[in-house]
Amino acid sequence: MTNIPILKIIGLNKSFNGFKALQEIELDVYNKEIISIIGPSGSGKSTLLRCICKLEPIDSGRIFLNGNSIYDDNGSEKKIGMVFQQFNLFPHYTVLENIIKPLMTVGKLNKNSAREIGLNLLIKVKLEDKKDNFPHQLSGGQMQRVAIARALAMSPNIMLFDEPTSALDPELSGEVFQTIRDLARDGMTMIIVTHEMSFAREISDRILFMDQGTIIEEGSPEKIFNKPEMERTLCFFKRIHFKK
């Protein structure tokens, strides 16, 4: 592992109509690192992810991916994968088309090579038998796994997960967690915004606790969950009745 961060954020500020959603965010993410962001609703976790994948314009600050500012348009190739809480699959495409159409439209791949990539990814998320189904015919957990496969198809350097299981029943969350675990095993760099504390603790190399638009505290899962230094982190765990 080199010491150059794959993703570097410097002094990021973002506000919505005067409301400061993010304040002076500093973050380095290293290759193969898995970071979970936890914190109360409205603390800016999702906004941070949306800024990293350029869905939200930022007020000030800089974001670098592999040393290049994400706002430099020289390499228009998308290297950041994003998985949404609401899946956002394309309902008019089949499962396989959801994965291969972006490859063909954006990546300019021909149908056969896109298909090969798509089928391999479906095997990876264990949904190869659903390739010709439409999204509405799948369960929530299956939809999210397709969404993960779709993001992976663009061969991102880093994957962002915005509360990937918040729209799912607990028993369906498990299969999505398993898919994320498989990605971790393959060495994917990931930032996961989640309310699932035990999953965050299990999978993460580092935990970030955010509140009111700032990173209050960060550290290893043991440190954050067992002996948090900040009062606000402790309060948060008390409020959500998190047991050590």
Partner: protein, 219 residues
């Protein structure tokens, strides 16, 4: 009852009905193009002037009678040096009028597509045009089709107004036969039946199309 006069004039009625279909189809296609451009533009953040122009267009054409619009285009515009032949004056009038309504249908349909679809396509690297064509339109069209087909029926019926521009479409031919025969009951009943057959055919076709495009959504 003397329906014999209908039989005597069936060839005129048929060719007039075909002209009605032609006028309707051409105006509808033109209206669709205008409606998609205007409706799509009105969903975007635009410079204030463009936004104003588009909203004035929509409001004016929705807020004045089609008959007046046709009179203005055919009889009014020549005064400022713009003479348009009757057929094209009819097409332009009908198209601009329908497009004003249809652009609102298009706009509402585009807005009905969840914003997450736009987000997802952006993150996957689609540019705005690709996102519109590949992701947003296919979903918006599904919502728009039933209402747009309704606009087609309305357009078909409103095309009877262009008879005043001396175009020998169905209504005008009916009027001409009437002035020769004074058989109002038979003639206007027949015209009504012909219009009804045409609009009913449209609604049957529309159901077929809806079924097709909903294929992806029903189990």
């Amino acid at each position: 009852m003397k329906f014999g006069i209908i039989a005597d004039n069936w060839l005129f009625l048929l060719s007039a009905a075909l002209l009605t279909i032609k006028i309707t189809a051409v105006s509808f296609i033109l209206a669709l193009v205008i409606a998609f451009i205007v409706g799509t533009l009105r969903c975007e953040k635009l410079p204030g002037v463009v936004e104003k122009i588009l909203s004035v267009y929509v409001e004016v054409f929705r807020g004045t009678p089609l008959l007046i619009q046709l009179f203005f285009i055919y009889y009014g515009l020549p005064s400022i040096g713009l003479s348009i032949p009757g057929f094209w004056a009819a097409i332009i009038g009908l198209a601009l009028n329908s497009a004003a309504y249809m652009s609102e249908i298009v706009r509402a349909s585009i807005n009905s597509v969840p914003v997450g679809q736009k987000d997802a396509s952006f993150v996957l690297g689609y540019n705005r045009f690709q996102s519109l064509v590949h992701i947003i339109y296919p979903q918006a069209v599904r919502v728009a089709v039933p209402t747009l087909m309704n606009s087609f029926s309305t357009l078909l019926k409103e095309s009877s107004l262009v008879s005043i521009l001396a175009i020998t479409e169905l209504t005008r031919i009916g009027n001409l036969i009437y002035t020769r025969t004074y058989r109002a009951f038979e003639i206007y009943l027949t015209l009504g039946v012909i219009y009804f057959i045409m609009t009913y055919a449209v609604s049957l076709i529309s159901k077929k199309i809806e079924k097709r495009i909903n294929k992806a959504y029903v189990c």
